[in-house]
């Protein structure tokens, strides 16, 4: 008897909590689909409109911003996958004297991410003339300590016997990497990819500093440029733009919910 009541109570509590938690986001979405007048006055049956999205799309080159973000996350992801695999492989498969020190050196980036050193990194980019380029945004992130950490953990679980067997058959280092280690780490690659994409899609401060022109602006910076009108913000417009820029991620998440969750979980487990 109390079990049933318990369940009902907890379910109600859970749903209520989730509803309250989602309120700011839901209201923002609601405002995006309704006229500006209703943004400050919630009215149940106010008429829906897509005009805000049309206007936001016209007001700023969001298509270009999306393209830039896409290029950015692609560059970073590919570089991450390749470079982190190489480094992790080296640490796992080989023995060298300074391995411990090097690993510690690399792990520093976990705590001191490139944004912390924004001043100096900006000056570095400026010196090599890569300000206002997409590659410039990506540069500090090409090697990821988190990726190395994850992949090293994963590669450590590869049975040594497999490796040795392959060596006996005459496979060189690259062959072993490609045929044995990489396939076994596939789920981790997927998990890491999701984390990486999510992180770089959402990155704001560093791209803000690095970019000046719309040709290289990613979506986050584009949104802020669009939204910080100095006086008189049109909330329905800003919310529409916000929704537009986050829609791809949200849609992807809703469709692949289970995989997303599973992969983030995997990324978190040691």
């Amino acid at each position: 008897m109390t079990q049933g009541l318990d369940k009902i109570l907890w379910t109600t509590f859970g749903l209520l909590f989730a509803a309250i938690w989602g309120l700011p986001f839901l209201y923002s979405v609601w405002t995006a689909f309704h006229d500006e007048i209703y943004s400050a006055n919630f009215v149940w049956n106010a008429p829906l409109t897509l005009e805000n999205f049309a206007e936001a799309w016209r007001a700023a080159p969001f298509a270009l911003y999306f393209l830039n973000t896409f290029i950015l996350i692609s560059i970073v992801l590919v570089a991450n996958l390749v470079l982190c695999t190489l480094v992790a492989y080296a640490f796992v498969r080989y023995r060298f004297r300074w391995a411990g020190y090097l690993f510690a050196l690399i792990m520093v980036q976990l705590l001191i991410s490139p944004e912390i050193l924004i001043v100096e990194n900006y000056l570095t980019l400026s010196r090599i003339g890569m300000i206002d380029t997409i590659l410039g945004i990506a540069l500090p992130y090409l090697t990821s300590a988190f990726g190395i950490f994850l992949l090293r953990q994963t590669f450590l679980t590869v049975p040594v016997s497999l490796d040795e067997a392959a060596q006996i058959e005459g496979a060189g280092a690259w062959r072993v990497l490609w045929n044995i280690y990489v396939p076994l780490a596939k789920p981790v690659y997927l998990a890491y990819a999701l984390v990486s994409i999510s992180f770089h899609w959402n990155n704001f401060l560093w791209p803000l500093i690095v970019t000046n022109s719309p040709e290289v602006r990613p979506v986050t910076v584009g949104l802020s440029v669009f939204a910080t009108v100095e006086s008189g913000v049109e909330w329905s417009l800003v919310n529409a733009a916000t929704l537009m820029t986050t829609a791809p991620l949200i849609v992807a998440f809703i469709i692949f919910q289970r995989q997303f969750v599973a992969n983030f979980m995997r990324a978190g487990i040691k």
Binding site: R95, F96, I118, E120
Partner: protein
């Protein structure tokens, strides 16, 4: 494995990737240190060596005191709250209740949004008189609160935003950990008559400790790294009441164009993070030892 590392491979596999990383992590840290001993160059005079003058300015900076207090309060406030909420959410979502996927969607959604979008949403939410918060307060007959315009509430408002964004992500990590808790442990305890609360505190919670450490470290890093919301919502105000350290560095360097002082503050920040890392390492080692 114990193979020797051939030089060619070392270069490709280790040296180049590491150089890239060092170029944007260690090198800038050292340069910041160097630059902190020089002053700003301007068109009228080149920069000159000023020794510890910038550090003296650091010690005399009233605003910095406020910023450090804010950052500390912010870290202490957001980390435990985010963790607590995350555990609660994970327990809810993990329970065999109807509608948990809806709950999970709602809790995790903020994590998918860029902080800048989150900031806009909450800026709108907090807008005095106009935003949803004020509308809700109005329904209860309460006056609208000027969340972002009062020094008492601006920092806490920022903290809410940060927790709202983070808790969902941490929930996922706890979810994974909860699902890894062996069922037979709980069954055994239940047989011995332990109630749900006892089971949680005596069995589940200790098993969650590695996750908690992982989450806490993440939360700490984010507390320093993520200042997008400050930039968009309050610009550190009013009267520096919501200014965090990285925001202050950004403002000093890119708004006020004081690169020398920016470098000095960067050294401070890196030093601070270094101390935190050392403390955390020491704590973890002790715990490992006693395990």
């Amino acid at each position: 494995m114990n193979k020797r590392l051939p030089f060619g491979l070392a270069v490709i596999m280790l040296v180049i990737p590491t150089l890239l990383l060092v170029a944007f992590t260690h090198y800038p840290a050292l340069r910041a240190l160097m630059n902190s001993f020089w002053n700003n160059a301007s068109s009228r005079r080149p920069s000159k060596f000023v020794g510890v003058e910038n550090y003296q300015a650091l010690l005399e900076d009233d605003r910095l005191v406020q910023v450090m207090l804010n950052s500390t309060f912010y870290a202490i406030g957001t980390i435990p709250v985010a963790i607590g909420l995350a555990i609660g959410m994970a327990l809810l979502v993990n329970a065999k209740l109807p509608g948990t996927s809806l709950m999970r969607l709602s809790f995790f959604m903020p994590t998918m949004l860029p902080m800048i979008a989150v900031a806009n949403i909450w800026l709108f939410f907090y807008a005095p008189g106009i935003g949803l918060a004020s509308q809700i307060l109005g329904v209860f007959g309460l006056p609208p609160i000027n969340f972002l315009g009062r020094t008492e509430t601006s920092l806490i408002s920022m903290m809410f935003v940060a927790v709202w964004k983070e808790a969902g992500l941490f929930m996922i990590f706890y979810l994974a950990a909860l699902q890894a808790v062996p069922e037979n442990l709980k069954d055994a305890a239940r047989l011995e008559g332990a109630g749900r609360v006892r089971i949680f505190f005596n069995i589940v919670l200790p098993l969650l400790r590695p996750t908690t450490i992982f989450v806490a470290v993440n939360a700490l890093i984010n507390a320093f790294r993520l200042v997008d919301h400050v930039i968009v919502m309050t610009r550190g105000g009013p009267n520096n009441s919501s200014a965090l350290l990285l925001y202050y560095i950004y403002e000093v360097t890119f708004s006020q164009r004081d690169f020398a002082y920016g470098a000095t503050l960067t050294v401070l920040m890196v030093g601070l993070l270094g101390i935190l890392a050392a403390v955390q390492y020491w704590v973890l080692n002790r715990k490992a030892h006693y395990q």
